[in-house]
């Protein structure tokens, strides 16, 4: 089981692009806001917010788990869904987003963590996404120990 880690992988892929024209196009796309524009065309966009007022603990983690459940459910129904974080990542942008939806903007009131765009997938994924070999990520009994111990 893996969760998609966006920036690290993107950076690695970007660095492999050698054509300067293509590189400039990709950069413009990444920084123009177009990267999140697909959400404008989605039939359903869910703003994921959590209260910070009612004895809440670990709100970002709770919301993240809820989003993952939404993605899995959408996928199981044959839909496509995408966790969109960028447009609400900065403090100013998150405030603007709250104002649009009339969500109270106090820093101690509600946290907006992301939105989820849901629709019908435009295409099948062509390639399996790259994964590190399990041996690189799994340690046994202590950090860094790659050999699996033998148990009796």
């Amino acid at each position: 089981m893996t969760a998609w880690y966006c920036l690290g992988e993107m950076q690695e892929r970007f660095e492999k692009i050698k054509d300067p024209v293509k590189k400039a196009e990709v950069l413009r796309f990444m920084y123009s806001g177009e990267v999140s524009e697909f959400a404008k065309h989605a039939p359903l966009v869910i703003a994921v917010i959590g209260t910070l007022m009612e004895g809440s603990v670990d709100v970002p983690y709770d919301l993240s788990a809820a989003i993952e459940n939404m993605l899995l459910e959408a996928h199981s129904l044959g839909l496509g869904a995408c966790w969109v974080h960028g447009p609400v990542a900065s403090t100013r942008d998150a405030k603007k987003f709250k104002e649009i939806l009339k969500i109270p903007t106090g820093m101690g009131e509600y946290k907006v963590i992301a939105y989820v765009a849901i629709g019908w997938p435009a295409e099948e994924r062509k390639h399996p996404r790259p994964k590190k070999p399990l041996e690189e990520m799994v340690y046994w009994e202590e950090f860094g120990k790659k050999e699996r111990p033998e148990y009796e």
């Binding site: 920036l7 950069l27 413009r28 920084y31 806001g33 177009e34 990542a89 900065s90 403090t91 100013r92």
Partner: protein, 160 residues
């Protein structure tokens, strides 16, 4: 008691905690840190140059930074600030020693805030903080986007 030292030590702890919680995303959450000082100064100006120069006057007059210069290059989207002997330099040095790349510059935040507040810039972000503990100098690169048409412009910051 040295109040600046006390304040910087508190900031170091908070920055380390926030970085530990959010990793690289921590830098996106802290753009308002420091802006109260400059917002109280009623900065005036009708161009980026005027606004930045007036901010620098207030910042240096207050003693927050001893010497400060700026340049706008790279298709007008790159703002580079150079600061010498900033009161927060010890904070950045401590963070660097602890293995956390400095990511909150209250002084830069002040200037970016005024570009947004006074000139309605669409968005800004601080991209890179380089400190030199030996010379007491900081160089901070930021992206500044005047309007929607600017967003998506890119430049090679090492050349432009």
């Amino acid at each position: 008691m040295n109040k600046i030292e006390y304040c910087n030590d508190i900031m170091v702890r908070l920055e380390e905690l926030l970085f530990h919680e959010l990793s690289g995303c921590a830098a996106w959450k802290v753009e308002l840190v420091g802006i109260d000082f400059i917002q109280a100064k009623e900065i005036k100006g009708s161009t980026p140059e005027e606004v930045i120069q007036n901010c620098i006057k207030e910042i240096t007059a207050s003693g927050l930074v001893k010497e400060m210069t700026y340049s706008i290059d790279g298709r007008d989207i790159k703002l580079e600030l150079t600061m010498k002997d900033c009161v927060h330099l010890p904070k950045e040095v401590k963070l660097k020693q602890d293995g956390v790349k400095p990511y909150i510059c209250p002084i830069t935040n002040m200037i970016l805030d005024q570009l947004i507040e006074k000139l309605n810039f669409e968005t800004t972000y601080m991209a890179e903080v380089n400190i030199n503990e030996n010379t007491g100098e900081c160089r901070v690169k930021s992206a500044i986007y005047k309007d929607e048409d600017n967003i998506g412009l890119v430049c090679d910051w090492s050349k432009e």
